[in-house]
């Protein structure tokens, strides 16, 4: 049983059937453009035997929706998809039994079509809506209920248009940013220049003049915001308020080189075995085995990355008596409620949080923080709805980033080219700063705005995440058969920037390092790198994706001046398998031109093939953007990546042809696929770059400057 089901064991917690012929699914997962609601609707319609367009989704809302924690880590299909499947299958069995009783026939004589249940013998019929319309089921989900056999699927695995596509293409979708309610105010925050700056003084005459012109200035310690009826006027007012603020800058941000800091700063080091950190001493690296024919070491590095949501974070809040309502694009309304209630000293019951669509977020971005900003302003202006939006600069400079990392590897091969020793140490800051409350009351500290109030909370002190394949050690464990790999995670203290969950957590950096290093080893041993991988794999499905990608990538000769490369991973060594092939060219200006990508994916049973292909294409493009362009920059006075010019991302103009090969595995459990592509995408680009130019780049991103510098060496 999944956690979702244990927490919500009843059919009524997952679905209801209306007298009007609609089926409403309640899931605790939110659709963030990954088409989760489309896939879930397909499953529900399949098990219930109803038309796809009868399915509705209830918005995710505290107190109503199942508590499924946070939408993250490609878990949605595994948790929620399975729960919806079992809930709808249980409901269907119940409805058939009810129909048999009502029609006084044997259940085996009944046929179902789009909610109509007809007896073959008597030709009498009854519908779901007659039987169940608006009534609770009052039954538990049967985890053993029989579900549809894959060979009888009508909808699963077929072509479907994503839900909500028409509304998106015609501008009708209502994002949080678009909410309009009578009497509402717009609001903006005024942040300090950097994390550690505090408000020394505010020119009160400016605040007064703003108040006199109808704005509301909200101040609580170093938390500063302004609200008013007209959005653009509020933006201008926030600029005036920012100019009136004088900040105590403190020591500023540490400016030591991040790659130096990663291995020089104080850190918590833990050995990792079978994907899980152990509270044991780290075994020393020692000398290579005596039978080693070849030993190589290499260090790979990645900078800080931002989520870089296209829409700056936003939230609406309204304070009504004891109650506080918040509309947010947070990925976890329940965890936000817990930490915010704790931070504001409120009863959880008085905090009502409703999910509303936002721009794609790819992890823990500003969504939760802006909800807190809106809550603080709304509490200062009771009874008035407040729509608070971050500016582009707020978003770039204040979201929690994906940490910089260093990966140090060493491996030895025997005379046959088999790996006989493997060591990897990964270094980074935390990925685990979602606003979950922990026993030590860490929840409120993870909500940025609360740190700036007069009664501010301290900065959180991250502890090493200890679960299977999370944080820095996600995909640290190689998928390959290496004898007793030595694996170490290092949670580094004193790094300069705020960090939390970004798509794949450590998976991108670890797979990038492992797969790049395999290329170097194969080359040193004089073995074809695809062959080298296959030799070290005992998992058929992993081998199949590599072979499929290699076959497609290497079909035909490589055009002149181009290079090709390939890489593999299985996300968290337990989810989707992905092999990525890339063909690229390096121009005279040292820019990388991506020509072609091949993505072979095994995500178990495919529910929504087009949606899965789209996830793969999107995953490749984002990872290619990280690999070619992205690095958050800063100096002592704060983050300097404050817009899209100072933090460039991949654009139209460098989007390759992407061929997706889906290995359908009927009857196999769904495996999350959203993040599987990133790691191999980065490594495949590195390998293709080497193939095209002979250069091995080990630090991301591969900008023209980095490529020229490598060529000079």
């Amino acid at each position: 049983m999944t956690a979702s089901l244990t927490k919500q064991p009843n059919v009524d917690q997952w679905l209801s059937i209306g007298a009007d012929g609609r089926v409403t699914i309640r899931s605790g997962k939110v659709d963030i453009g990954q088409r989760i609601s489309t896939a879930m609707a397909v499953i529900a319609a399949e098990e219930l035997d109803v038309a796809l367009d009868r399915i509705d989704f209830a918005p995710v809302e505290t107190g109503v929706s199942p508590d499924e924690g946070v939408t993250s880590g490609s878990n949605s299909m595994q948790d929620s998809g399975q729960a919806v499947r079992l809930a709808t299958a249980t409901a269907r069995r119940h409805l058939v039994e009810k129909a048999a009783a009502a029609l006084e026939v044997d259940p085996s004589t009944l046929e179902l079509a789009d909610g109509l249940i007809r007896s073959r013998d008597t030709n009498r019929s009854v519908t779901y809506w007659d039987l169940q319309g608006d009534q609770p089921f009052d039954i538990a989900i049967d985890p053993e209920v029989s579900v549809k056999a894959p060979e009888t699927y009508q909808l699963v695995g077929g072509q479907t248009t994503a839900r909500g596509m028409t509304e998106l293409a015609t501008g009708k979708t209502e994002f949080v940013h678009d909410m309009t309610v009578p009497g509402m105010l717009h609001a903006r925050v005024v942040r300090p220049p950097h994390y550690h700056a505090r408000l020394k003084e505010l020119d009160e005459s400016v605040a007064q003049r703003l108040e006199q012109s109808g704005f509301r200035v909200v101040r609580d310690g170093s938390f500063l915001a302004v609200a008013g009826a007209d959005e653009y006027a509020v933006i201008k007012a926030a600029e005036r308020l920012a100019a009136a603020a004088n900040w105590n800058m403190g020591k500023g941000l540490p400016t030591r080189d991040i790659y130096e800091s990663l291995t020089a700063n104080e850190r918590v080091s833990l050995p990792v075995a079978d994907g899980i950190p152990r509270k044991e001493p780290v075994p020393p690296l020692g000398d290579p085995p005596t039978d080693a024919a070849l030993t190589l070491s290499a260090r790979y590095e990645k900078p800080y990355h931002m989520h870089g949501s296209l829409g700056p974070s936003a939230a609406m809040a309204k304070s009504e008596g004891e109650k506080l309502h918040i509309w947010t694009h947070s990925q976890g309304v329940y965890v936000l409620r817990e930490s915010l209630a704790d931070g504001l000293g409120m009863d959880e019951e008085d905090l009502h949080i409703i999910h509303a669509p936002g721009a794609g977020c790819y992890g823990h971005n500003g969504a939760d923080d802006v909800a807190v900003d809106a809550a603080l302003v709304a509490k200062a202006i009771p009874g008035t709805p407040v729509l608070l939006k971050w500016s582009r600069e707020d978003e770039h400079a204040w979201e929690p980033y994906g940490t910089c990392m260093a990966m140090e590897l060493r491996a030895s091969l025997d005379a046959d080219g088999s790996v006989i020793a493997w060591s990897q140490e990964s270094f980074g800051d935390t990925y685990m700063m979602r606003p979950r409350s922990s026993p030590d009351g860490d929840g409120p500290r993870r909500l940025l705005p609360l740190r700036y109030r007069a009664e501010g909370v301290d900065d959180p002190v991250p502890q090493p995440a200890m679960r299977y394949h999370v944080g820095i050690h996600r995909n640290l464990d190689p998928l390959y058969i290496f004898p007793e790999p030595r694996l170490v995670k290092n949670l580094v203290r004193g790094l300069p920037l705020r960090t939390s969950a970004l798509r794949t957590l450590g998976g991108f950096a670890n797979v990038f390092a492992i797969e790049c290093f395999l290329e170097e080893l194969a080359e040193a041993a004089g073995i074809d790198s695809v062959e080298f991988r296959i030799r070290h794999l005992d998992d058929e499905r992993a081998r199949d994706v590599v072979k499929a990608a290699a076959e497609a990538l290497y079909a035909g000769d490589t055009p002149p001046n181009r290079g090709r490369g390939i890489a593999l991973s299985q996300y968290t060594n337990s989810k989707a398998y992905a092999a990525v092939g890339v063909e690229l060219e390096v121009g005279d200006d040292a820019n990388i031109k991506l020509h072609r990508a091949v993505v072979a994916v095994d995500a178990g049973q495919v529910v929504d093939p087009d949606g899965l292909a789209m996830q793969c294409e999107g995953g490749f493009i984002q990872a290619a953007s990280w690999t070619l362009h992205e690095a958050v920059t800063f100096d002592r006075d704060g983050v300097t990546s404050r817009d899209w010019d100072s933090y460039p991302i991949l654009r139209f103009g460098n989007i390759p042809e992407i061929e997706t090969i889906l290995m359908d595995r009927p009857g196999n459990p769904f495996l999350g696929a959203g993040e599987a592509i990133a790691g191999p995408a980065g490594a495949a680009i590195a390998s293709a770059l080497h193939n095209a130019t002979g250069l091995r780049l080990r630090r991301l991103p591969f900008t023209p400057d980095a490529i020229r510098a490598a060529a000079m060496e």
Binding site: T161, T170, Y232, S309, L310
Partner: protein, 158 residues
């Protein structure tokens, strides 16, 4: 405050506003046309694009008063008889949106591109879309949607 006359989606509107307010804010907050999005307010991302006399224009910086003599069309106004336009239909069919925050801008840019050049090559696509960012990676689908609308694409080469 000043009275500004705007022609949006075929309808004239008289609006009371600070004339220096960027067009986007007037469209969204005063006319309720929230399809175009505020992504940066810096003319860097394309989320706010609208058609001005058939040309795709970023609306997040330039003052509303500059647009009094123009014919403005937003993503909402591209619908034809209540139905999605051919470009919108192609976006829907190709699944050319994930979160969709960038989509209105891309639909507008595509509409402008194809009205000027019914058979754009990849260089023309790239330059028409060069103002537009998408963080979800829906680029491949947008390009497919454009291709499906070209003479070549419509003749079955999809």
């Amino acid at each position: 405050m000043a009275k500004i006359t705007l022609r949006v989606n075929g309808e004239p509107h008289e609006i009371d506003t600070d004339p220096s307010t960027p067009l986007l804010f007037v469209l969204r907050n005063q006319l309720g046309l929230t399809g175009a999005k505020l992504g940066c307010g810096l003319e860097q991302c394309g989320a706010c694009a609208v058609l001005v006399d058939g040309v795709s224009v970023l609306s997040c910086v330039r003052a509303v008063s500059e647009f009094e003599d123009n014919d403005i069309r937003t993503v909402e106004g591209l619908m034809e008889n209540g139905q999605p336009s051919a470009v919108q239909k192609a976006f829907i069919d190709e699944g050319a949106a994930q979160c969709g925050y960038c989509t209105a801008g891309l639909v507008v840019a595509t509409t402008a591109l194809l009205s000027q050049d019914p058979n754009p090559d990849s260089t023309a696509n790239d330059s028409a879309l060069s103002d537009h960012l998408c963080r979800c990676g829906s680029h491949t689908r947008v390009l497919k949607a454009i291709k499906s609308l070209t003479v070549e694409g419509a003749s079955g080469d999809r």
